[in-house]
Symmetry: C2
Subunit: 324 residues, 2 copies
Amino acid sequence: MPDLAPWITFRPEIRVLDCTIRDGGLINDSRFDDGFVRAVYQTCVDAGIDYMEIGYKNSKRLFPKEKFGPWRHCDEPDLRRIVGDNNTPLKLSAMADAGKSDWQTDILPKSESVLDMIRVACYVNQIPEAVAMINDAHEKGYEVSCNIMAISAAQEVEIVQALEEIAQTPASVVVIVDSFGSLYCEQITMYVEKYRKALEGTGKEIGIHAHNNQQLAFANTIEAIIRGANRIDATMSGIGRGAGNCPMELLMGFLRNPKFRIRPVWQLLQDQFVKLSESLDWGPSPQYNMSGQLNQHPRTAMAARSGPQKHDYVDFYDKCVGDV
Amino acid sequence: MPDLAPWITFRPEIRVLDCTIRDGGLINDSRFDDGFVRAVYQTCVDAGIDYMEIGYKNSKRLFPKEKFGPWRHCDEPDLRRIVGDNNTPLKLSAMADAGKSDWQTDILPKSESVLDMIRVACYVNQIPEAVAMINDAHEKGYEVSCNIMAISAAQEVEIVQALEEIAQTPASVVVIVDSFGSLYCEQITMYVEKYRKALEGTGKEIGIHAHNNQQLAFANTIEAIIRGANRIDATMSGIGRGAGNCPMELLMGFLRNPKFRIRPVWQLLQDQFVKLSESLDWGPSPQYNMSGQLNQHPRTAMAARSGPQKHDYVDFYDKCVGDV
């Protein structure tokens, strides 16, 4: 127990990444219009946010341009239409999924791109490809992060093994990803300790990407910060797949570094998100509560939320429990 | 850091109190209809919940019957219309506020009431009346709790002094109440330790009543449980004043005691709360986020949410910051 009040101090090493367009793009096939993306970009700059993840570097074969918006591929002309040469302190990131990305060809050398960072996302069974992707992005000149997804569904020894492999790569960040939104704070504590131990001496930073199925995304993010995570993911209004993510407006209220400014975030929520929430569904609704509680992938919950049985909670519960 | 996984075990001493009708009554002047109250009551019984707080014992002079529904006064005929003689394991509670209650006359001897517990709510500056109320309710035969409200706005020495006074009363429970929803988990840890120390040797249990302004009600409730709180408040769908409370459906998903059953809660949410949420406003909306972050009473946020400027977040923010 602290003697004083550490919660009113700040750790200057903390970096905040906004993944509104990237993670939010999972609920609208990355079809945000330019005005919206530009508003998020400007807000990130104005709020003193460190990174903005503007989309995916996903394969055009698997995610054809006819079906998916530009933020699924992050082609250079699309990026520059929004950010120009990005002459701001804000760094830009894109995510490349193992198994879903033509990274060899689609990720350009850093000298030809306005992107600063590539975040490689993978499941524990995709570590070999992830390692190749990390090396490739590093050689091309990017800062690289490795985001191991769905750790609540992986075995402990698999995670330890994965961390051992990643420890030897040039990735400078490794992010704890609670894809199912099923972790309680005690588990976050355990994972952060595990990641710290595995990455000790490598100089790599630990990140946290929490989902909000049980209304714990913000709390788990705080817990990870307290335990030493310095790379923090959040989204405006918590938008994201299913229950969404740690809300930026709550994170900004918690962080005490005076470089962060919350007012631009409220302005964005007022100008853009009131309207958006009329057509898109995210947040910790009952079906997402259940999939989080049961440590299940949110896909069935998303299907239930989008159909006419949106409010048949008990039917959904019975199906979830039957599936376990 | 635990070696194993304590989060899948349970502590048999934990008791859950549903305060849906009592705290929810703050957003509709306690005007829930009988069918709704009966449904909540039956759900509490079916879900294995320990206590149901069915309303307030507030003064009819200050809260006239013409303006407030029956759950503001909890007259015996109103209670019995819903619960009969309450021949169930569920215990019934009512809350009496210091300064707002004619407790001398309105709280009947236990032998004449279907209530089991009186919870005395007070601010730190009302401790003398609270002590008198605790003694009165105990002498009348009730189990008694003392809920010190708005502790985030009280000075540390005031809380320690208040606990010293309460330690000498026959109250068997003392509840930590984060009325403004402004506390972070580190602060919850600190308060639980403080309450434990002050109440050591008295046999009194510590309770937690969290508000959800920063989406931390559930997380803070878990934190309090981990630190030793055994009396836990929650409401169905998190309904309650302003941002609302710790949602019962999340708490039930966390608690591992097999006596608790979550399915009846989903049924209630489906049958009663989908409709109710169309006419009542609660939950962690931006204005409540802000009042929580700034440790302010939610009353201005409630006013802002109920008017035509419901979505003028920046205007509200500027006013809040100007007020500090």
